[in-house]
């Protein structure tokens, strides 16, 4: 299986283009268990710990099945680190996708140009032709996956599927062959329809938001503390499947429109608009509280936090904000804060 990986601080990578080119899209995930030996020679210590973790893995050497990496416009750290990828990572194809900061018509036209450039560069580098029909097929397949994930996600709220198990499913969807993913998700849905609640004890219903959270162990940790994540607006979560791509129009246009109309992330502007989607989720899923988790040095999240804090206070929804390093020792160190939050709600 040949793959194109994406390094994405958001969830704006056009997987369908990679699929149409014959590659399996593969989201690069962090590994909190590794040391940052190599990357510390390239990036100062006061930069995003998650982004450094991914770069560490890339410098050490990515899986040989990965033939290229596409980085999407994220935050100041991830954007500027692209040059270090070019400098230090042994890979044949590296593309920086300038996903616009804004979402108007001018931005859409620009994004179309950049997506077309990506198509051109993949074709040129791999000596292939990406057919629009193939992109349309990929869109249909991914839309099925998105719809299934959305349906499965509802079982979190019914306490039939653990938040951590769902998180694993989304990760699996972002890192495996999509036909295989489709089969797995179909089976999972069937299985869930016949399952009963996994717990009778009262677990706190949580809406999880924040930086990239790719370590499922964190959700397991939360479950141990008595929290069930019933909803989220994460990149490895709802923002991956909340909307679908239109299937009956020019596929590149449809992809561009999809990415500029999905629930907004803090890396895009105006990032305060994120609050509306969070409010919608909080009310729809009747959550007991909201957790906003920022990775250390994750500036977009740090900017939005006081506003979110204020707005959720107005709604009288309990809210906790945590800045966290990318290592599992941190979870234990933060136990008391989570326990206090559990008591509060």
């Amino acid at each position: 299986m040949v793959k194109i990986a994406y390094f994405d601080a958001d969830v704006v990578s056009p997987e369908e283009i990679f699929m149409a080119a014959g590659f399996t899209p593969f989201r690069l995930l962090g590994n909190p268990a590794i040391e940052h030996d190599k990357v510390n020679e390239h990036v100062p210590p006061t930069h995003c710990v998650w982004a450094k973790n991914i770069l560490e893995q890339a410098i050490r050497g990515l899986n040989p099945e990965i033939k290229g990496v596409v980085t999407s416009h994220g935050c100041d750290c991830t954007n500027r680190e692209f040059d270090i990828w070019v400098e230090s990572v042994e890979i044949d194809f590296l593309f920086y996708l300038n996903v616009p900061l804004k979402r108007d018509k001018i931005a859409l036209n620009f994004f179309l140009n950049d997506l077309k450039e990506l198509v051109y560069q993949i074709e040129d580098r791999f000596k292939i032709k990406i057919q629009p029909e193939k992109i349309k097929e990929a869109i249909k397949l991914n839309n099925q996956i998105r719809k299934l994930l959305k349906e499965i996600s509802e079982y979190r709220t019914k306490m039939i599927l653990k938040g951590s198990e769902f998180h694993e499913l989304v990760k699996l969807s972002q890192t495996n062959d999509k036909k295989k993913v489709l089969d797995i998700l179909k089976k999972k849905l069937m299985e869930l329809k016949n399952k009963t609640r996994f717990t009778e004890k009262k677990m706190k219903r949580i809406l999880l938001t924040g930086s990239i959270i790719d370590d499922t162990e964190f959700l397991i940790f939360l479950e141990d503390k008595g929290f069930q994540v019933v909803a989220d607006d994460l990149c490895i979560g709802s923002r991956y499947f909340w909307n679908t791509i239109e299937e009956d129009k020019d596929p590149i246009v449809a992809i561009a429109e999809y990415h500029l109309s999905k629930p907004l992330y803090s890396t895009k502007m105006p990032s305060y608009d994120r609050f509306e989607f969070l409010k919608f989720l909080a009310e729809k899923y009747e959550v007991d509280g909201i957790m906003n988790i920022a990775m250390k040095f994750c500036e977009p999240m740090l900017y939005d936090h006081p506003y979110m804090n204020k707005k959720f206070k107005e709604l009288k929804i309990p809210y906790i904000f945590i800045e966290m390093s990318y290592n599992r020792e941190q979870y234990k160190q933060l136990s008391t804060r989570f326990e206090a939050f559990a008591e509060m709600i």
Binding site: R80, D83, I106, N113, D114, S271, K296, L302, H305
Partner: protein, 421 residues
Amino acid sequence: MPEKKSKMLKATQGLKNAMGRHYLAIEQAYRDGKPTAWATSGCPVELLYAMDVQPMLPENSATISAAQKYSQKFIELAEEEGFSYDMCSYFKTNLGAVMEDVDVYKGGIRKPTFMLSSDVICDTHSHWFQVQAERFGGVPHYIIDVPHVVSNTSKRQLDYFKKYVQEQMWELLDFIETHTGNKIDMEKAREVAANSYELSEVWRDIYELRKNIPSPISTKDTFGGLFPLFTMPGLRSPINLYKRMYREAKTRVDAGQGALENEEFRLMFEGIPFWYQLKYFAMLERFNAIIVYEPYTFAFSKFFSNPFEEFSKERLLKDPIECMSALMLSFWYIFDLETRIKWFKETVKDWKIDGVILHNNVSCRPNTTTFYDLKRRLGEEADIPCLIIDSDQNDPRKFNEVQVTNQIESFIEILRKSKRG
């Protein structure tokens, strides 16, 4: 070791008056009910002047807070509001200054008619203005989204990047008209653009004089001297100031005089200085070392610091909007790594620089992300000694004077040995 003092140009003393006029113009605008705007660095401030909008630059105000020793207090106020210790200290200084409603001499700044930001330097700028626009109760805010030029961006990409910025520039003009009633007057735009070009040109000429050994000017003239380029591009008055600076520096060159009596080491300083401790740079003079080039202060001379295109006055006057758009795509301060390495190597050669100090400014991640690779490549490819010092532009809590001094002393020793061969 005896303290040494480099000589500041007499003309630079006029800077205070020039900036004073800028702040008076702001006050006058409020008295007259004229529209005002906040703008971030990297934005086309010229367009504001061309549309009769009085610009205010919160970054400039933040440096005043730092120089007057208020920044820490304002930063801590912002932190009490929930903004993290790790965030941009300019932003936090500005937030605290507005919360305290202090006057301009402490870095205060009024509520504007609208705000103009861009992500050309950092996404932080747009977040910062979003925070303040909301806290003021809803100030209109226009963001110019500038695509990131990276090490492998192609010429073809640059063309549609430029088109994207240009389309936004036209939209910005409509935005300004909507919120102020002022229309763009292309004749005035050309006049403002021509002034901006001339200001850049004289600044470039001043920098050219710094190639001389000994250098006629030091950072005492340039760190503060850059502010007119930043706040008043398009006005006549700073041009006259810069011309006086140039003439005086040229007289020194002709007389073989340097700003420093016994110039021994010529340095380059990359990054924003620590504004709360500018005197610290004089410490270098004890070692007969002088900074002769700062990419940061030269970056604002934008017509002459673009790696992709030539910007002639004729081109600018023909289509100021096209030119301003193209100029936004790059900025010496945040060049992609490959361009940066090339420009550093050329600058070191042309300005006969012995060593480079890179300020790992924790408030400015876009500027510092590639420092380690920059340092390594300069060492490997051009045998240029580099020193990285860790500190912050506006937050004195992040400046460890003893540590930085030790590092600089060791660095000077390295340069000394290197010079001896």
